[in-house]
């Protein structure tokens, strides 16, 4: 059940240039169903940031009632969020949306997790959940540069991890799809989250495996009521059928919806 809760900040630190890791504690954690879901944060009670901000769950510890978010400071909302301290409370609406289907990979099978930039965080929670189910995980993570890269060690602890960066300052120079091609990475299922061009490239270059993509769009309600975040379906790309990224997604099977 989604709910609204003032969660308590129990850890908050900068882990790369403009990238923050935020751990929140509260009852809401119990309702989290699967990796790929997100929460919708009200940064403060002010009117500068009137609407909520969607941030993916990067890690969940139900026993401790903790969840971790990893976010990049983009604009006013995330800037204000980054100034919050341990002990402060954050108004959280969640958990929201449908995440990555764990069942798409069967035990003993191989999953490839492909992330770009701040699309990387939900893959960490996903990777942990897959591994727990006995699935072999391989990660391909793309960053703009080494300065903004994060969680390399954490991912390595779960499975083989390849890095790519636009400027070559970390991992191989190029895009995640270059790495997949070069390393000839195969898998029974691919899960991806990152910028739309990356998702599109994956759709084209990996047509054979089941592929799940987590999408982003500017949101208002986050729960399916305002119609801010819709996308066309691939069966009716010009028509009136649609999916809501906040409610039907953010994760869709490749081929289901039109990428923006």
């Amino acid at each position: 059940m989604k709910q609204v809760e003032k969660m308590t900040i129990i850890k908050h630190r900068c882990i790369a240039e403009n990238i923050y890791e935020l751990t929140l504690q509260g009852e809401l954690v119990q309702s989290i169903e699967e990796p790929g879901q997100f929460v919708h944060l009200r940064v403060d009670n002010g009117y500068e940031t009137l609407i909520r901000r969607p941030i993916s769950l990067a890690n969940v510890n139900k026993k401790a009632k903790e969840c971790t978010l990893i976010y990049r400071v983009e604009g006013e909302g995330t800037t204000r969020l980054s100034l919050k301290c341990v002990g402060d409370r954050v108004d959280v609406l969640g958990p929201l949306g449908h995440g990555f289907p764990l069942a798409a990979a069967s035990s003993g099978g191989r999953a490839l997790l492909v992330g770009g930039g701040v699309g990387v965080p939900p893959l960490y929670y996903l990777s942990k959940a897959l591994k727990q189910r006995g699935i072999q995980v391989t990660h391909v993570l793309g960053f703009a540069s080494s300065a903004v890269a994060f969680y390399e060690e954490e991912f390595r602890a779960l499975g083989p991890t390849y890095l790519a960066s636009v400027d070559g300052s970390i991992g191989s120079q190029g895009f995640v799809t270059d790495v997949i091609r070069k390393e000839n990475l195969a898998a029974d299922v691919i899960y991806a989250c990152g910028p739309t061009p990356m998702l599109k490239a994956l759709e084209v270059s990996c047509p054979d495996q089941p592929l799940y993509l987590s999408l982003e769009e500017r949101m208002a309600c986050g729960i399916g009521a305002c119609m801010a975040c819709v996308c066309h379906t691939q069966t009716d790309p010009e028509g009136s059928s649609y999916k809501k990224i906040c409610k039907d997604g953010p994760v869709f099977k490749a081929g289901e919806v039109v990428l923006g």
Binding site: A225, C226, C231, S240, Y242
Partner: protein
């Protein structure tokens, strides 16, 4: 003075909408209720204004469709909805489980579309009244003209009234120089009530790309930023017409709600605030009795238009 033992009553009786309290979610900000039913019992609401229905299903505008502004937001949804037939077969069907009266918002690009949708929906027993959206700034095919030219709005109102079996509220656009002339024109044309205000036409640039943030470029401004404009227009119009007004525009708290009633609204609708706090409607409903008591008033009616009514002893 109010009798010490009198119970405060929140009831508001509007044409087609017998409301147990003056609070309803605003059209387009509550879809058809299902999402909010996950949070609370919709029977708590005074009424529900459902998302605009059009003749055919509409996908609406490309995304991004929303952008944040200071104390407000812009939207350019473009009246996305599954079409009147689907709404009657599914959304209204689902809403049957609640007793809350329904205000069905209707939109169209042509007069024929409006009449088609109005006639159909007004025949639906589950609909309490119609809300004629003549002001959506996001419909390019001519919607804006209905909302800014009194004659055009009046003629549309008259035609809708002729085909409607239910009371008709006309939802006014604030993007206009003289709201009073517009309000009087639609009253004269037979409107049973007014809803005001719809969004102000606005825009934001993305500083990085140097382009508009919204794919549609312009969008409707809602939220606390527009409240002073809404209050002013309701204050002006409520003194000039004798039909009731459903007030809206930036309501975020019970005190905002009181301001609208004092200005002359008979009930209020809450839009953008639902996105900020899904519980906002029941919260405001719960806050109302004690605020009325603090003002030594016993009914909502006592408050309506208090800012301009020559003082009555209560």
């Amino acid at each position: 003075m109010m009798n010490e033992t009198t119970e405060v009553s929140l009831k508001v009786d509007l044409p087609g909408l017998p409301m147990k309290n003056p609070i309803m979610p605003a059209s387009g900000c509550f879809a058809f209720g299902q999402e909010y039913a996950d949070f609370y019992d919709l029977n708590q609401l005074g009424a529900i204004a459902i998302k605009a229905a059009t003749r055919e299903p509409r996908f609406g505008n490309p995304t991004p469709r929303v952008a944040e502004t200071r104390a407000g937001m812009l939207n350019a949804i473009g009246l996305q909805n599954p079409g009147v037939d689907h709404i009657m077969a599914h959304e209204l069907r689902w809403l049957e489980r609640y007793e809350t009266p329904i205000l069905a918002n209707i939109a169209g690009s042509t007069i024929e579309d409006y009449l088609y949708v109005a006639e159909k929906l007004s025949q639906d027993a589950r609909v309490g009244a119609l809300e004629l959206n003549i002001s959506c700034p996001n419909v390019k095919e001519g919607g804006i003209a209905f909302g800014t030219v009194p004659d055009v709005a009046a003629s549309l109102t008259e035609k809708v009234k002729a085909v409607s079996e239910k009371p008709v509220y006309v939802k006014l656009s604030p993007n206009i120089a003289d709201i009073v002339t517009m309000a009087k024109a639609v009253e004269q044309a037979g409107a049973d009530g007014l809803s005001m205000i719809n969004t102000l036409l606005g825009m934001r640039m993305d500083i990085k790309t140097m382009k508009p943030i919204l794919a549609n470029k312009m969008g409707g401004l809602s939220g606390p930023a527009i409240k002073p404009v809404a209050i002013r227009m309701i204050y002006q119009v409520s003194q000039a017409v004798s039909i009731p007004i459903i007030g809206m525009g930036g309501i975020q708290s019970v005190d905002d709600c009181l301001e609208f009633l004092m200005a002359g609204a008979s009930a209020v609708a809450i839009g953008t605030a639902n996105f900020v706090d899904p519980f906002i409607c029941p919260k405001i409903i719960a806050d109302l009795p004690q605020r009325l008591e603090a003002l030594k008033l016993s009914t909502i009616e006592d408050l309506v238009g208090r800012s301009w009514k020559t003082c009555v002893t209560v």
